[in-house]
């Protein structure tokens, strides 16, 4: 595993890495370069991203639609009642 990703994973999952002092001690033993150490210490996500050459790009991550199908939403006031009745079948079923 990439050392810097491993560091992020450890920082997020090790309860002993809470104080700044503990994190700094951990970072000195982690096998990451100085630039990455500085970015992590400064909590600078953009700077850290720049140190990883092959970091995958994320375009979007949205996964929900306002309605289940792509039919246009009726604007006609006269169709309000009909819309009210059909709305439940159009709504996206999302579980909590």
């Amino acid at each position: 595993m990439s050392k810097v990703i491993q560091v992020l994973e450890t920082m997020a999952s090790n309860a002993s890495l809470v104080s700044e002092e503990d994190i700094n001690t951990f970072l000195t033993t982690a096998e990451i370069n100085t630039e990455q150490q500085q970015a992590i210490t400064a909590k600078n996500v953009e700077q850290l991203a720049e140190t990883i050459a092959d970091l995958p790009k994320i375009i979007a991550h949205i996964q929900v639609l306002p309605a289940e199908d792509d039919e246009p939403i009726e604007d006609d006031q006269e169709n309000d009642q009909e819309n009210d009745n059909s709305a439940s079948s159009k709504l996206l079923a999302s579980s909590f």
């Binding site: 997020a12 790009k57 979007a60 996964q63």
Partner: protein, 273 residues
Amino acid sequence: MTGSLVCVGTGITLGAHISPIATSHIEQADIVFSLMANGFAQKWLEEMNADVRTLQGFYQAGKNRNITYNEMVETILTQVREGKKVVAAFYGHPGVFACVSHRAINKAKTEDLAASMEPGISAEDCLYADLGIDPGKTGCSHYETSQFMFYKRNIDTSAHLILWQVVLAGDKSLAKFSTGSAYREVLIDLLLEHYPSDHQVILYQAKGIAIDSMRAEYISLTELIDAELFMHTTLVIPPCTKMQPNAKVLARLAEIDKQEKRANNVPVLSLVL
């Protein structure tokens, strides 16, 4: 060989939120399809399995997301039909505000293919922890923002109102990654029918990686128009009114209490041998 699909959630914060069973599914899968919220999480996932395929390529500005989601589902199911052990890994919870996993599982089941879901820690879970909101205290309603705008809702101002994907407020095209201030103005006007203009609302973002900061920015409702919003920004609207007692229901319950009390006051007869 029979194919299978498991949709798993990787949680919101890289490394902190994934469950042991989700990790195991990812590690043992023939193919892992992924939709992660940041490059770090994608890279982390790619190091858990030798064949991780991102679904990012299906997203395109100007393309109807309904088509995008159907293409993602077909791509996932094609491999299941070929007999592969497939995992679809989504950030957060795979079934919360996430239609791809629901569609894929439903379709797989109609084709008699094995399909299931493993939960993950969602942004909603993080929100309750970070903002100190207990949904059981006054109640809580959640809506996708555009859905909230398109359909008539009974807004309960004595409960929390949480609007997801506020960056896409009012997008009927389903083809944008953000909408502008004119769209937001419609949302604000809708909310102003129920909330005062100076009502404090919260822009919330959970942290994606350990060094991220959680965002909990308090602004007035009208300031929303110029606020900096991202895909993962959630609008939290705290209650502005107190819960009103339902006198009719309370009276009925009091009557039942009275009857029960009367019944309990009847002397207990015991059989003495």
